[in-house]
């Protein structure tokens, strides 16, 4: 250590440091030994709490850190990579986009409404802290089996929590995923992503610089809520064991809204040096991180913190996870500007300390020092683990494509897939989210593979998506994670966007199990490989481990949030068949497999087999053809083949058909596919899953130009049919394999989610 911890007397009334207390704080023998080495004395009670949260998995990334280094984080557009509150990329014209995705899994399982709500609040703070105006929220949700008794309680609670918070703060929730799988029965996933817009020359960071500068506490008061939330998030759930748990934090979106406006207004004045959200581990982690980045120290008096409860101790002030609070380092002499702006918005702003040059993180209570720790002990000296990782014994055996007997009834298969909760219409969910406020949502939820949000006073727009097929990742973490990147990139390309950068939210089981750790390492390496193939960096992210109940770990779920840029949104497209007479073109060469497919799960209750393979040359050719075809105004709708394969992709285009760029009443199509072979081959072609494919529509006049564009990029392209009629008809040399009225597709698809979970259906679309 560069500096020595000074002696600090135990605070009268605080508990004595015993082995039981150390155990309760989740520090093992080695870690506590390290604390003693660093401090040169036993820690005080407050210090013990601080080490406990700062060295928790959640804050220290002690298990993941050595692997995360393998990810590409640089690129010409990167203005801020991982390590700050959010990543920032340049989108030209002096503008930049800040974004990040974060998990709130454990709290949401305990209390779905507040858990999800505070997840949204936290990720918004990470983004506006950078100086960005939040313009969109996305979320990626994983629940247990749709018919699991808890799902009926958890799904509405989480959705209402996201709605209650996002709607009130006035940031549109524009896209996301809702998936169900039994591996999440005891541990749901709630991942929220926020996207903000800022000037590229006005990025704010959390670097506490300038000894003597005042430290201000702003926002809501500090209460006893959420103490040790970060430690909880680093622990597994034990079935049947009711351990004492910290209370889940309670969100107040109204205060958050005031905080957004006050912070953004303050940032227009020349008054602040650094700003940081108080997230997990509250005041402790925000102040330690700011001092760590600045190479400075901080001294703060907890007696000055506005308290929400009587008699709070320094330990409680330091570890509280009360929401809607920020820490600001102001330029000396500018405190009054902070106080004036926050006063206008009816918020408190109080000087609680100052930046020092002693390299110590010091907390006092009035005149008495209660904690004083070298800053680098809490950041750089945190333990780092290279945990053992082992390929599961059955991994190789699980790779063979399952031998599934064809049902011989493609229409029935299609309807069952459309009605299955992962593929079914998600309108019941997104109609509870205000997805239009701020007038930016040019392409709405469900209308395209990615949401399209316009940039004010510009021709540009952002295409936003989240993606992860965790069944693919479970089947093969390396290939499955590459698949998540490929699909996210295709999603934005289908609207006409260039994929720019990624945020990741890595949800895994208990890393102390070598097979889970192997999944983690494989997933990171797969993600790195895919990002390098597409030359996309990851600029922010979050790791959530210990997602496990009893012996059951969740399916590994490396959620990908991707931001794409549309230079001229005039031509941005949705996925629905726009109008009668348009030609349908299949871009790419299908290589369908039943491995890890929705067909396998829904029709045959089989989940084995390797996920679809990737051909990166073909993938790049497809992305370019999609982007250039859309921006040239040739492509009028586009949709990639994903869950449920080519058959489901066509059905989804028919269901949303009738209006360009929005959701219409439906429109049929006649499609001729080369489905040679027997019934099994036919079902595999229609419902097996594949990368590298998308259906697009184009006017008959523009068809030659589109085919020429595809040929130029080396992307396979076949004219396979035309839009029109009331039915989706797919034929091959042997006649019709599919002939289903769009109205039948609609009843299966629209009612699927609520029927599976047992909720009241949403009324018919207006």
């Amino acid at each position: 250590m560069s500096v020595q911890a000074p002696a600090v007397d135990p605070r009268p009334g605080d508990p004595e440091i015993t082995q039981a207390l150390i155990d309760e704080h989740g520090l093992d023998e080695k870690e506590y030994g390290l604390v003693l080495d660093i401090m040169g004395r036993p820690p005080t009670y407050t210090e013990l709490g601080v080490f406990s949260v700062m060295w928790s998995e959640h804050c220290s990334y002690k298990t993941s850190r050595i692997h995360l280094k393998k990810l590409p984080t640089d690129g010409p557009r990167v203005l801020q990579g991982p390590g700050e509150n959010a990543g920032v990329i340049d989108i030209g014209d002096g503008l930049a986009v800040a974004f990040k995705m974060e998990s709130h899994n454990h709290p949401s399982f305990i209390e779905p409404y507040q858990g999800a709500a505070t997840g949204v609040g936290g990720i918004l703070r990470d983004v506006f802290t950078m100086g960005a105006r939040p313009i969109a929220i996305l979320n990626s949700l994983r629940f247990g089996a749709a018919d699991h008794p808890k799902t009926k309680f958890l799904l509405p609670g989480v959705v209402a929590g996201i709605a209650g918070y996002g709607n009130c703060v006035g940031v549109p929730t524009v896209a996301g995923e809702v998936n169900f799988h039994p591996s999440y029965n005891g541990n749901i996933l709630v991942n929220a992503m926020a996207v903000g817009l800022l000037r590229s020359d006005a990025i704010f960071r959390g670097v506490a610089a300038g000894p003597g500068n005042p430290v201000l506490y702003v926002g809501a008061r500090t209460g006893r809520d959420g103490i040790h939330g970060a430690t909880m998030a680093s622990d597994t759930f034990e079935e049947g064991v009711e351990k004492p748990r910290p209370t889940v934090q309670v969100g107040d979106p109204y205060t958050e809204k005031l905080l957004i406006e006050a912070c953004l207004e303050l940032m227009r004045e020349d008054a602040i040096v650094a700003i940081q959200d108080m997230g997990a581990a509250g005041l402790t982690s925000s102040s330690v991180e700011m001092a760590g980045r600045g190479g400075t120290g901080l001294r703060m008096d907890v007696a000055k913190i506005p308290a929400a409860a009587e008699g709070m101790t320094p330990y409680e002030f330091c570890l509280s996870e009360s929401q809607e609070r920020m820490l600001i380092v102001a330029a000396k002499g500018k405190e009054h500007i902070v106080e004036r702006v926050f006063g206008k918005w009816d918020l408190e702003a109080v000087v609680i300390g100052h930046v020092t040059d002693d390299g110590l993180w010091t907390v006092v209570e009035g005149d008495n020092v209660v904690a004083s720790i070298p800053v680098d002990a809490l950041t750089d000296a945190a333990p780092i683990y290279d945990r053992p990782h082992t390929e599961p014994a059955d991994f190789a055996a699980r790779q063979a494509e399952p031998d599934l007997a064809p049902t011989g009834d493609c229409e029935d298969v299609l309807l069952r897939l459309l009605a299955s909760p992962n593929i079914a219409d998600k309108r019941w969910v997104y109609r509870q989210y205000d997805h239009m406020v701020r007038l930016g949502t040019v392409v709405r939820p469900g209308a395209a593979d990615a949401a399209v949000v316009r940039i004010p006073k510009s021709a540009k727009a952002l295409a936003l998506t989240t993606d992860c097929n965790s069944v693919w990742v479970k089947a093969d973490p390396h290939l499955g994670t590459q698949g998540a990147i490929a699909e996210a990139a295709r999603n934005v390309a289908c609207t006409g966007a260039e994929p720019l950068a990624v945020t990741d939210c890595l949800n895994f089981g208990n890393p102390q199990r070598p097979e889970v750790m192997w999944e983690f390492v494989q997933a990171i390496e797969g993600m790195g490989a895919a990002l390098r193939e597409l030359k996309i960096p990851v600029v922010s992210g979050n790791v959530s481990l210990y997602n496990e109940t009893g012996d059951v770990s969740i399916h590994p779920t490396p959620g990908i949030g991707l931001v794409g840029l549309i230079e001229d949104r005039k031509h941005a497209v949705g996925l629905g068949f726009p109008e009668e007479g348009q030609r349908i073109v299949l871009l790419g060469t299908p290589r369908p497999t039943f491995g890890a497919s929705a067909y396998g799960r829904v029709i045959h209750d089989v989940e084995t087999g390797a996920p679809p393979s990737l051909d990166w040359d073909a993938e790049r050719a497809l992305l370019l053809t999609l982007r250039e075809g859309v921006s040239a105004g040739l492509i009028t709708a586009a949709h990639d083949a994903a869950d449920g394969g080519l058959g489901v992709a066509l059905a989804e285009m028919a269901l949303a058909g009738g209006v360009a760029g929005n959701i219409g009443r439906g429109l049929g199509a006649q499609v001729a596919l080369d489905l040679s072979g027997d019934a099994g081959a036919r079902e595999r072609f229609l419902f097996g899953e594949t990368h590298g494919c998308a259906f697009v529509t184009v006017s008959a006049d523009d068809l030659p130009a589109l085919l020429a564009l595809a040929a130029e990029h080396g992307c396979a392209a076949q004219n396979v049919g035309a839009v029109g009629g009331d039915a989706l008809v797919v034929t091959d040399a042997g006649g019709a394999s599919l002939d289903v009225a769009v109205s039948d597709l609609r009843s299966a698809w629209e009612g699927g989610l609520t029927a599976a979970v047992g909720l009241d259906a949403a009324p018919p679309r207006p």
């Binding site: 009130c168 109204y254 005031l258 205000d434 239009m436 406020v437 040019v442 207006p766």
Partner: protein, 233 residues
């Protein structure tokens, strides 16, 4: 013509209203802070959507005590045009500038969706240029319009129902009613017709990039009425 868009703490559609007045209706516009009391130079007032005071107590119940509300009452009494959209409608009912109340949606959830409206009275300052049917998205948790029988009879009898929830063909049916509002009421006016409250958001469908742009006619109507001297103080 100069519009003032009021910002209460928690308003979140204030920038949207400002944008549409300026860019679509092409009128002068400024924000008004809820503590302002001086409305000189203002020709029309927008109370925007959002969650003023976080919907504490009841939607709009605290915002009605904001200092600006007394000035707005005087402005309305003098004949100045006022529109309350969504939370703004709730504020107007709480302030007593419009009768009735907005209760929790019948389905008990927040709903955000495109909504077809039938113009029930096309001769009001805020509706005179509107086509018979509009699309205006709804985004609310508490939009179920309620009034006692006598009030309802007066509203209907005096032609003060401006908009009703309808289906895409313009039929006012129970199925087209998203929130349980009495008589499918989506918007009403005061006796003089200069104060309009509506739950749907016309500003969210005022540009072709976001829909069929039919919501813009609400703003254009009041501009025409003002320029013709039909409203204004």
């Amino acid at each position: 013509m100069r519009f003032g868009v009021v910002t209460f703490p928690g308003s979140n559609c204030d920038h949207d209203a400002y944008h549409v007045v300026k860019r679509v209706a092409q009128q002068d516009v400024q924000f008004l802070w809820h503590k302002d009391t001086d409305l000189s130079g203002i020709d029309a007032i927008v109370l925007p959507g959002g969650f003023s005071y976080g919907d504490s107590l009841r939607c709009g119940a605290i915002a009605r005590f904001s200092p600006i509300m007394e000035s707005i009452r005087a402005f309305a009494d003098a004949g100045g045009p006022v529109i309350g959209i969504c939370n703004g409608f709730q504020v107007l009912t709480e302030a007593g500038l419009l009768p009735g109340a907005l209760l929790r949606n019948q389905g008990l959830t927040f709903i955000c969706e495109d909504q077809h409206l039938a113009v029930a009275n096309g001769h009001l300052p805020w509706t005179s240029l509107c086509p018979e049917g509009l699309v205006a998205p709804i985004a609310h948790h508490d939009g179920c319009y309620f009034a006692d029988e006598e009030t309802l009879a007066r509203l209907e009898g005096e032609g003060r129902v401006a908009f009703r929830y309808a289906d895409r063909d313009g039929n006012v049916t129970p199925e087209a009613n998203p929130n349980g509002s009495l008589n499918n009421i989506a918007g009403i006016t005061n006796e003089r017709g200069n104060v309009l409250g509506m739950m749907p958001h016309p500003e969210r469908n005022a540009e072709t990039e976001l829909g069929d742009a039919s919501g813009a006619w609400v703003f254009r109507s009041v501009v025409r009425a003002f320029l013709n001297g039909e409203v204004g103080r």
